[in-house]
């Protein structure tokens, strides 16, 4: 096997997963009674290309499976067969099955053949008269399991050799005719010469080699023998040796042709031969690299974004050369031009920064697209009628944030469906339309992205939440709580929303996990519910994790950065409101809350401007459910900062989440409030009746 197919596997998997997504979306769109022919065509095309490419790469099982699927789709497409919900279900199941097969192959695991077989049987049942000619699947499987490299030495192998010598081949003392003779000695050899490059007779240089050869060699010999013949010229000539296999000649030829097509397709700018040549030299190491590459995630970036980047870099280069010229012959009269140039540089830099950040941004539809399916399956399971509305799918979001928001969103949507929406009968009884609506909405607001999950179900039962909270000791009987405080209770650990709303036992994954996940992304979640009319969960997330809005605070001679999102308020302390609690902790009374005070200079062992609280400022910050007041000397400006890791060259520093570089070039550390609280050893003394109970305390 000369061309290492595995290097294309990653592309194959990505394309196939994309194809499956198209199929799934299309299937969900299909209306059984009145199917849209374009949608069916799109589904068919996706299935067809998966079949084609999986065949090319030798994933016979996938190819076989898709073939059956395709047969059915073809009949639907030609109008021979009507659609019904059962067929749709079966098709969706097979999409799932294919997706798990692909994932298993991608991770080099064994996949569940049983499921595929079962589905194939069902398909065949439907197809009945139109039985697909099933090739004996066992023999095919053997073919898959046998790695192509293990072609036995004794078997006759057909080699396709393309030999394009360098023009200077003859000058370097190599004799192509000798090599061809050597090849001919190895076995049956058909040689064709290509004289396309031969110039007019007048301009022929007798010492140049214009001719190239394509050789078909059928021989018992090993690959290494052929390589040896070309050993001296392989560095400056194009030599492509492909095996057209002794065992399955036809299929293999097909494979190689397709492969070459594919290669030229995916790499139109590059000539295909140099790529192939590299492969000849180090097929093994390449294969290793490929397995590594399979683990790395990639990102698809639209050409538009790349083009704008290229333009910006071009502008930057122009500005740079302009400034360079100015600098080499500088005199004081050119100050105005220098300033102009610097302004331009600043402009270029900012735009470039924005464009680069935009590369990491993907439309949220990547996450949203899984919900129609989820809602469809779940609503069937629960016997509810649900319509899902998606808006703002094109809203862009950082890739890392997107990957980590998926699970919390799924949880919220499941909750909305399971506990929020009523059964059709209850809905009709409540005077609502039979079909419930779940709406997912994403939009930008300031530097944040907001995701809203709205259902028009029964809403939260506040009285029930209250009772549950009292029963579990989170609040006291006589406590008066505002609506928001009651709603906030459902994010407490140990609260099962199922218990709360439906008295059906929950799955045990609580809303506290959802909140924690969102907080890890430095976001927040709120719920707003009206009994009988439904609930809205609002998630607020930063657009990116690489940049943070920070408040600069000064402690002693050091400047630290506090994430702006965590700051509730800043105030000058009124000494009357500060109490000293036994055990060494100061507490600030702020309106109705008691907030522990953390002295940053104490925690960080710094010398402050003044140790007297009266001369300092307090910054009240909120993490999770607890608030603390940080003592700082001075508040400085607010600014966006680029987060840099301390761990790259040092290690994790307690109380610090990272570092950044300020405008004057100095390093400033970004404070991690959660860590700080731990560091200060302050565990919030949750006052029952107030909504403050820290997770840690609850766990204890």
């Amino acid at each position: 096997m000369s061309i290492d197919l595995s290097q294309f596997h990653q592309v194959f998997f990505e394309e196939s997963h994309e194809g499956l997504q198209i199929m799934e979306a299309g299937l969900l769109d299909l209306d059984c009674d009145n199917p849209d022919i374009d949608t069916i065509n799109a589904i068919f095309r996706a299935a067809h290309s998966i079949k084609g490419s999986s065949g090319t790469f030798g994933f016979t099982e996938i190819a076989e499976f898709t073939h059956v699927l395709e047969t059915l789709l073809d009949e639907v497409r030609e109008g021979k067969r009507g659609l019904n919900p059962d067929i749709l279900d079966l098709l969706l199941q097979s999409v799932d099955c294919l997706s798990s097969m692909l994932s298993a192959l991608q991770n080099n695991e064994k996949f569940d053949k049983y499921q595929a077989k079962e589905l194939v049987a069902k398909f065949n049942e439907i197809l009945q008269s139109n039985m697909v000619k099933q090739v004996d699947s066992d023999s095919k499987k053997e073919e898959v399991n046998q790695p192509p490299e293990v072609v036995s030495n004794n078997a006759l192998t057909t080699w396709n050799i393309l030999f394009v010598p360098d023009l200077n081949l003859l000058r370097t003392g190599n004799e192509p005719a000798r090599m061809l003779r050597e090849l001919a000695k190895l076995g049956e050899c058909t040689i064709k010469s290509d004289i396309k490059k031969l110039p007019e007779i007048g301009s022929v240089d007798p010492e140049s080699c214009y001719i190239s050869w394509s050789i078909i060699l059928t021989s018992e010999c090993d690959r290494s023998v052929i390589d040896e013949i070309f050993e001296w010229v392989i560095d400056d000539c194009e030599v492509i040796i492909t095996e057209t296999a002794g065992i399955f000649p036809e299929g293999q030829i097909l494979k190689n042709e397709r492969l070459l097509n594919q290669e030229s397709k995916s790499n139109p700018a590059l000539p295909e031969t140099p790529v192939a040549q590299k492969k000849i030299e180090k097929p093994k190491s390449q294969a290793k690299e490929n397995t590594k590459a399979a683990e790395a995630t990639s990102i698809r970036v639209s050409i538009e974004k790349i083009d704008s980047l290229v333009n910006l870099v071009g502008e930057l280069v122009i500005t740079q050369s302009m400034l360079g010229q100015l600098g080499s012959e500088y005199d004081i009269g050119k100050v105005a031009r220098l300033q102009e140039g610097l302004a331009q540089l600043e402009h270029n830099t900012r735009e470039l920064q924005e464009s680069v950040m935009r590369i990491r941004m993907l439309p949220i539809s990547f996450t949203f697209s899984r919900f129609p399916r989820l809602v469809r399956d779940l609503s069937r399971q629960l016997g509810k009628k649900v319509e899902i509305k998606l808006t703002g799918e094109q809203t862009e979001l950082d890739k890392t944030v997107m990957e980590r928001i998926g699970d919390p969103l799924v949880h919220l949507v499941r909750n909305a469906l399971d506990h929020g929406l009523e059964s059709p009968q209850d809905r009709v009884a409540a005077g609502k339309p039979e079909t419930g609506v779940i709406e997912l909405k994403a939009f930008h607001q300031g530097g944040n992205i907001i995701i809203e999950i709205t259902d028009d179900g029964r809403g939260l039962n506040k009285e029930k939440i209250r009772k549950k909270a009292i029963a579990s000791g989170l609040i006291a009987d006589q406590d008066h709580l505002s609506d928001e405080q009651v709603q906030d209770l459902m994010f407490q650990p140990g609260f099962s929303t199922a218990d709360l709303v439906t008295d059906v036992s929950g799955r045990g994954v609580g809303m506290d996990v959802v909140r924690r996940n969102i907080q890890e992304l430095s976001g927040s979640i709120e719920v707003n519910s009206r009994e009988g009319q439904g609930s809205t969960f609002t998630i607020r997330l930063p657009l990116t994790l690489a940049i943070l809005d920070g408040q600069l605070v000064q402690v002693g001679d050091q400047t630290y950065i506090l994430p702006l999102v965590s700051i509730v308020e800043s105030l000058q302390p009124d000494m009357k409101l500060i109490n000293h609690v036994a055990g060494g902790c100061d507490v600030l009374r702020l309106r109705n809350e008691y907030i522990p005070i953390i002295k940053l200079f104490e925690v960080f062992n710094l010398k402050p401007e003044s140790e007297d609280l009266a001369d300092s400022l307090l910054v009240v910050v909120e993490v999770g459910n607890s608030k603390v007041a940080l003592v700082v000397d001075e508040l400085q400006g607010q600014q966006q900062v680029v987060i840099k890791s301390m761990e790259t060259n040092y290690k994790k520093v307690e109380g610090v989440s990272g570092a950044t570089i300020l405008g004057d070039g100095t390093v400033s550390l970004i404070l991690d409030v959660t860590d700080l609280i731990q560091l200060a050893g302050v565990i919030h003394q949750g006052k029952k009746g107030l909504k403050l109970i820290s997770n840690r305390e609850y766990a204890a």
């Binding site: 050091q558 960080f604 710094l606 060259n649 100095t666 390093v667 550390l669």
Partner: protein, 185 residues
């Protein structure tokens, strides 16, 4: 430093300028009259001392972090690391930025030293391994000792010295003992 420039003793190892494959080049620096050497390939650059941003609750020899063209680089005071007397940083105080190989990959760190001295080409034959001083003294961070112009140069293995998170105990007495034992030999 003066006697280094007087390179008359022919028994000394070759000084910079004689390229040989077997030769390794070392950059040496001075700390309280002792000369130390590090493999020159690990040296990224040499900078003057500039003010650092403190790392809260870090050990005293970690002076803080600086911005090296966008990278956050920790600065380690080698004097304090070796338990030598603290000196005020002046305009001649030098930071050597090193690339250190650790288990977690390459890290960039800076060390504060009194002054940079010279570059020597040394072959491994010239190098004498650090004397074994028993279990209580850790000498793993010393690659070897070498004699240049009748002066001992201590070659440090910076990967051992700075590469681990748990920095091994190094003290003045260790160095003193090493010195004494080599003199006795």
């Amino acid at each position: 430093m003066q006697n280094l420039k007087d390179r008359s003793d022919p028994t000394d190892v070759e000084i910079l300028g004689h390229d040989s494959d077997a030769m390794d080049q070392y950059l040496t620096f001075i700390m309280s009259d002792e000369e130390y050497g590090v493999d020159i390939l690990s040296v990224q650059e040499i900078r003057g001392w500039e003010s650092v941003t403190l790392i809260p609750n870090a050990p005293p020899h970690i002076k803080g972090v600086i911005n090296l063209r966008g990278t956050i680089v920790p600065i380690i005071d080698l004097r304090q690391r070796f338990g030598l007397a603290k000196v005020e940083y002046g305009p001649l105080t030098v930071v050597i930025v090193l690339k250190v190989a650790t288990r977690k990959g390459a890290r960039v760190m800076g060390i504060v030293v009194d002054a940079v001295s010279d570059v020597y080409s040394l072959s491994s034959q010239d190098m004498k391994s650090a004397p074994d001083l028993g279990d209580h003294v850790n000498t793993s961070y010393i690659r070897g000792l070498v004699n240049v112009s009748n002066k001992m140069v201590i070659l440090l293995d910076i990967n051992e010295l700075l590469g681990t998170d748990t920095i091994p105990e190094v003290s003045l007495s260790t160095l003193q003992e090493i010195k004494e034992s080599t003199v006795n030999n």
